[in-house]
Structure formats: C-alpha cells, structure tokens
Point group: C2
Chain length 469, copies 2
C-alpha cells in the first residue's frame, strides 16, 4: 500500500480570508473581478502541488458592501477560465441545490469536467439566508430540513443525469451512418417532490463520471448528507479534540451509510499566518487586526447570533441566554462554533471579532513554517484530518508564503507529493480508462478515490467490485 499522503486544497477569496486584507498596501481592492489575480493564485497553488482549489459562493450581494470587497465572478465561469490556465489542479466550484435546477447544473459541471480533463469538483451547498431566497422569488429561506431534503433529491437526479450516457454510448460508425447507440442512453424519468426530469443529459459522461462531490455543512443534517454523498468535506474546527471527534463521527456515519470511510476525505480549514520567527508571525497578525473596523464586526456578529442591533458591547462577553442551535434556520454549525469558541476561551466581543476576522471560525495557525507544518502533521497523524483547506489571510502573499516555506517542509517529511503524478499513482485503478492515453490524473484520482461506476451498468461477472462512492 502506498503511503498515506496529505491532501491540500487552496480556498481562494479575493484579497484573502482576513476581512481587513483588502486594506493592506499590497492588496488590490479590485482583485475579486480580475481574472489575472486568480490565474496567479491558481499557478501558485499548482507550484505547491495542491490537490485542488476552491471558490465559495452565495447568490446574493452581501449586505456589508461598504466595508469590504463584495461581488465576485461566478465560480463555475471563473473556474472554466482557470482550467485553461492550469494543467493539474482540481477546480471546485460552490453551487446551490436550493437555487439551481438539476438539469442546468449537471450540464455545467459535466462540461467543466470535460474541458478541464477531469478536474471538476462541486461544493454542494443548500444556501442559508433570506437574502438569497428573495432573489429567487421566495419571501424567506426554506427551513433547514427542507433545504437538505431538496439537496438529497437534487443529488439523486444529478447522479442519474451524469450516468444517463454510458461511457461507450458513442459509436461513430461513419459508414453505417450510426453515430450513437440508443440502448446506452438512460433517461432519468424522475418525478419527485422537488424535481421532474424526464430526459437524458445532453453532455456525454465526463472523464470523472461526475465531479468530485464536496460538502461543508457540519450540522446534523449536513453530516448525514455528507455521509451519504460527499467525497471530501470542508469543516471548521477550532481544537484538535473537536477535529478528532468530527473526523471519527463522519467516518463512522459514512460506514453506517454503506460506504467505504476511506472514500470521504476530511479537510479542516486553517488560516496560516507565517513569520520567520514566532514574533514576526504574531506581528503580521497584529497588522491585520489593526485594520479591522470593529463597529462593522459587532453588527455582523449580532446578525450571526440573531440578536437585535446594539445588544453586544465591544469589551463585554456574549450574553448567557443565546438561543439553542436547533432554533437557528441559517448556518447552524457556524453559529455553534462561534458561541463555543467565545465561551471556551472567555473572549470579549472585541477578541472574538479579531479571531473571526481572520478565518470566520476556521482555526488560525500563527507561527513559523516549522510550527505550521508541525500542527498540520499533528492533526493529520492523530486522526483529525486527511488534509487541509488552506485559507490564507492575505492573497496572493499568504499563499506564496505557504508554498515557499511550509510546502517544502511537508515534502521533506514525506507528507506531500513532490510533483503531480501522471495516472493512477495512488493505488487507484482508473476503471475503463486504461489505454485512453489520458496523460494526467483526474481530481478524483488525486484524492485517492475510484472513478464511480455507472448506476445503469451491471459490472461484468468477474470484474472487480465497483464501489459506489
């Protein structure tokens, strides 16, 4: 068996994950709509042999327009442009199951997977918040459980669509005038509670079969959904213990759902703030905190905690009588994380905003490259992570620093690949693709996952069992 390797995803967000990053002299406040900025970031990540890069998304303009970069290039569009500017790195786009139709979205991901040579991934979100709902004809967001029920049906339909062409449905017999084999086309004929989708997709089955399925909700509904569908999970965890518990829980839920727990990769988010000494790293962090506008932070925190404006005092603690998670219809797991962080460390509102300003609840590792690598190795080897979602506080400099200084240490320790592999190097046999001459690994191969079997095809007797991811 090949040695277990760390998986790294670069979470790209305009000038960086720290809310004040755009105010630094080095930052371009228009970066969020500049293709060149993202091409540069993608190439840095590829230099660091990251598995993938990732774009978050919500179909609404955030209300803090005045305070920080708002708006963005639509993720699937931007990642398609990045596909042509990169060679190896996986391309994970966020898209909502609440505000898309399965036929349209399945087509777009299949198209990106073909164009990128098998590098597409889908971060499946249900999209919390009334602002998004009101852009799609609704008065309020659908209830949490309702969103997840729709997401599950969405996935079932999308999987049928992606399987609606068998891999060898194209015959291309010019002499006979026969282009395709009708018997290898499988219309979903789906009629469910949320969707009716009769016909087959109008895109052939893509190199990966379908995009890598990624998920990031850590609520009870979110974990159940991940256990059933997800192949990679982004999560916000503040302590090693919490991360270990989450990791063990998710692997066990996945096994209970009848899937191989190795086929779900857990990637906690970390915000690395690096300096050549610990003092320098801390000074870098202080520069960012000095640029936070705290009045804005208070307003956002009140909104997250669903408190009336003016409730929180900057140098006080959170109120003791906050509502329970179950009463929250928005981003549940984020709510709980923030409340628990504040209580565990007895943070004032000001301190809490400083902590959240960097990673919005994700763990900030501040230190030397060795210290950051140590923390990564500890989490990776102690059952807390299969890899990490790297969220630089400032972009591009923070990603450059990670690739220049932390990646070499991880490679020296044998934790991270030193170059991208050609095909199927991580013990994964690429079903049906031997001999197609595809020169590079797909995203799913890079994560050590099998190419999914087609649900409409019965494996030939004697062929290896094909795991349904």
């Amino acid at each position: 068996m090949t040695r277990r390797r760390l998986h790294l995803n670069a979470f790209l967000m305009n000038t960086g994950h720290h809310e004040a990053s755009w105010r630094l002299p080095e930052s371009d406040p228009y970066a969020h709509v500049e293709l060149g900025h993202y091409v540069r970031l993608a190439r840095i990540a590829e230099r660091g042999t990251f598995d993938s890069l990732f774009l978050a998304d919500g179909p609404q303009l955030w209300s803090n327009f005045a305070q920080r970069p708002a708006g963005a290039l639509e993720p699937l569009t931007l990642l398609t442009a990045l596909a042509t500017a990169t060679e190896h790195i996986g391309l994970i786009a966020t898209a909502s199951t609440s505000y898309n139709s399965p036929y349209n979205l399945a087509r777009k991901f299949a198209s990106l997977d073909i164009i990128s040579g098998g590098r597409a991934g889908w971060n499946i979100v249900t999209t919390a918040g009334a602002e998004a709902a009101r852009n799609f004809g609704l008065d309020a967001e659908p209830a949490h459980a309702e969103r997840y029920a729709r997401a599950a049906e969405f996935l079932d339909v999308a999987l049928k669509l992606w399987d609606s062409w068998e891999d060898d449905a194209i015959v291309a017999d010019k002499a006979a005038g026969v282009w395709g084999d009708d018997t290898k086309i499988h219309p979903p004929r789906h009629r469910g509670k949320y969707f009716g989708v009769e016909g087959a997709l109008n895109v052939p089955r893509s190199p990966q079969g379908y995009p890598l399925l990624v998920q990031a909700g850590s609520s009870k509904d979110g974990k159940a959904f991940a256990a059933r569908y997800a192949e990679a999970v982004f999560t916000a965890q503040q302590t090693l213990k919490d991360a270990q518990d989450f990791y063990a829980d998710l692997k066990s839920l996945t096994a209970a759902a009848g899937r191989n727990p190795d086929h779900i990769k857990v990637l906690p988010g970390i915000v690395p703030v690096i300096g050549s000494t610990q003092a320098e790293a801390r000074a870098n962090e202080q520069v960012l905190e000095d640029h936070i506008v705290y009045t804005h932070g208070v307003a956002r925190l009140e909104s997250l905690l669903q408190l009336p404006a003016g409730t929180l005092e900057l140098d006080g603690l959170l109120p003791a009588d906050l509502p329970p998670e179950s009463s929250i219809e928005g981003a549940r797991s984020r709510y709980t994380l923030v409340v628990e962080l504040a209580r565990r460390e007895r943070l004032t509102v000001r301190q809490l905003i400083g902590r959240l300003g960097g990673g919005r609840g994700h763990l900030t590792f501040t230190g030397t490259p060795e210290q950051v690598a140590d923390a990564i190795e500890e989490w990776f080897t102690l059952g807390a992570a299969d890899g990490f979602n790297i969220m630089p506080a400032v972009l591009p400099s923070g990603l450059d620093a990670f690739v220049d200084h932390v990646v070499p240490i991880l490679r020296t320790r044998g934790l991270l690949r030193t170059a991208y592999d050609g095909t199927g190097s991580e013990g994964t046999e690429l079903e049906g693709a031997g001999g197609t001459g595809r020169p590079r690994q797909t995203l799913r191969e890079r994560y050590g996952l099998p190419r999914p079997a087609n649900q409409y095809v019965t494996p030939a007797p004697g062929s290896p069992a094909l795991a349904r991811v």
Copy 2:
C-alpha cells in the same frame, strides 16, 4: 461618417451545419466535446476578423441520438474557455429565458463579459419543445405567447440586475476602510408575474454594461421582442425579397418601439459551399447530400410539420392541407419557412430534405468565392442584411475555406475590416470608458453600438444623450 461595414458572425456547430458532415472522412465525430476543436474554429474566425462567434443551445438531448452528433459542451462554459484562447472575437451564447432564473443567468453573463474584456453576447431564446419542458418539471412546453411574456419580464429583470451597480460603485478607500458606496447600488426589488428578485447582482457592472443582446425568433412575437430588446438578430431567409421585407419590417418595428433602427443589426444565416469552380462547389455539395440518410430526414420533417409518422412520401410533395402557423406551439417561423420553401420551388420531400440538410432552412450559397462574395454584397447593399451569420456545412474546413477565399475578396471590396481595431473606431464613443486604457474593442463597439446607459443614473446636464439600446 465611417463607411458602413459588414458584420460577420461564425455559427459553430460540431462538425458543421450539414447533418451528414460528421460522416465525411475528414470529420471528427467526437468534435462536439473537444475543446481543441472549438479553439481551432475560434482562431480561424479571428483570422477572418469576424465580429463574433455563436453557439446554439437547447436544454435537452435531441431524439435523433443514433443518427448524428448529439450533446454538446454547455455554451457559456465553452465560451468562457474560448475567451482565454482568443483576443478579439465576440462570444455569443444561447440561453433560455424559460428554463433559467434571471439572477443566475445575469451573473454568468456579467462574469463572462468581465473575463473576456467585454466580448459577451446573449442569444435570447424561449426554447420550443416538450422535451426541454419535461427536463424542468413541466409536462408540456408553455404556450408560445406565454414563453414570450416570460422572456420580456426576464429581460426587464436582467437589465435591472446588470444596472444594479453603477460603474463607479467601488470606492476602495483603504485609509478610511470604505470599499463600496452603498448609494450607488440599486436593488431591483422586482415582483412580477414570473419572477421575484429583490437584491442587487453580486457582480459589478461589466465592461459592456451587459452582454450584446441577440435574438433569433422571426415569428410575430419574436419580431416584437427583437424590436424592443435585440441589438443583433439572426434570421433564416431564403430569397433576397423575403430578406429585404424582413429587414425593413424589423427596422421599422424597432423605430416604432422608440429605438434607433441602426441599433439593431440584421444577420441572415447563410451556408456557403465553396469550390474553385461552380462545378466543384456543386460536387462538394453532392458529396454531402450523398451522405444523408433520408429515412431519418422524413421522420424529422414529419415532426417539424406536426404530421403523423408515415404521412410523407420521399418523392411526393408536401400535403396541401397543412395547419396554419398560428396553430404551431413550437418553432413557428421555421415551420412557415420550410413550408413556403417547398411550395415556392415545388420541392419533393427528398429535395426538401436535401436543402434542409445543409442549413435547416438557412440559405445555401453554392459557388466560387467570387460568387459567394457577390451574393453577400448584393444582400448587404440592397437593404437585406447588416451582415451574415456564417454557417459552414463542414467544420473546420468550410470556415477555413471562407476565411481563406471569401474574406480577402470582401476586404478588397472595402466591405470588411482588414484587422481588428483598438478602441471605438466605428464612430462609436465609448461612454465613460475614455482613459481606462482598455486596449481592445468590446463586442458592442465592434457592432457599432453604444455602451448602454445605466437606467438608475441620470445623465449630467449637457452630456450627450445616451441611447438606451
């Protein structure tokens, strides 16, 4: 005033517009899902200084899967990839107003417009056919008039979304910590019959303000829609007289709708089949006709004419008692064109299929490069066209032949540009963009159209009147 120039659009469709093109020895039957094929086509069109290229679309798998290439890369995705492989050419994607939501689609077009540096166009379709409807939870297609009513509301909302950021909404004052100016954001707050869209777009206003608006329906509803919204119109016309009538009618409807009739460009589709002699051109055409499978053609014609299977005889004429156009819920103007073509020229079903096999109702010009250029010049100078939608029967060879042999003649005659211009060369003042240093023309500038004013901004007193396109 600058000399009036011809506008050329390249309509790209896998191995070509002739239904039998995929069977030729030169053709790649997998071309429809190969990015390299489309990159090659786009670069040929750019060598020919075409204004734009265009991809048709329908959200369903065509039923003649066995007979000819089916499925395709989703147009917005493919054009985004082509944006990075080209420098000048416009990128026009078809997208449906019946099966998209305005917020999602407006974002994607704004993103493509930004990524391409102002080269995006939208071919607005209402999508005929029950097959598409059944992929989106409906049992049958919405009625023709209903589809157009939804399209009009869709456009109104999309225009509000594209105008929801003023061009200078981003302040980027790092010292003050102020990124955006809230007063320059204009949420649509739209509540209509078909859509509710409350909030502003989450993409800034793009280089062109919004994509070039293109339309291709030539029914009564289609022309009324075009007169109100379209800046370019694709149309199928079989005779000079019909094309002149359509041209005059559309310009007059546009003026009656309160718009400048120069701000709608009429582009009939033509299928050029070229040979160095007329006999060679005709022989090239014959090769294609020899590859048609006529039994398939009969079935498709019966479907278009809404006749029971087995009604048509290959060597007979069309029945005399076909239903009137007004009873057709599908592609109305195509229906009438086909019936009139067959009757005018007394074509047998076999002959009609041969004619439709090339351009599906668009005019085929078969001849030498001089003859093709003569026909183009005649239509252009006699009030039948502002340019042409070039639909090569075979791709890439037919596009190569047009660019190598017809384009030089058009240039010698002063009808076509010899190179792409930098900025604003065709008498168009680019509103508000002087001094931004944008090096290339936008698609709208290339078509000689003004950048649209923002509906939420009152022009300053004394500034030139800003035409609402």
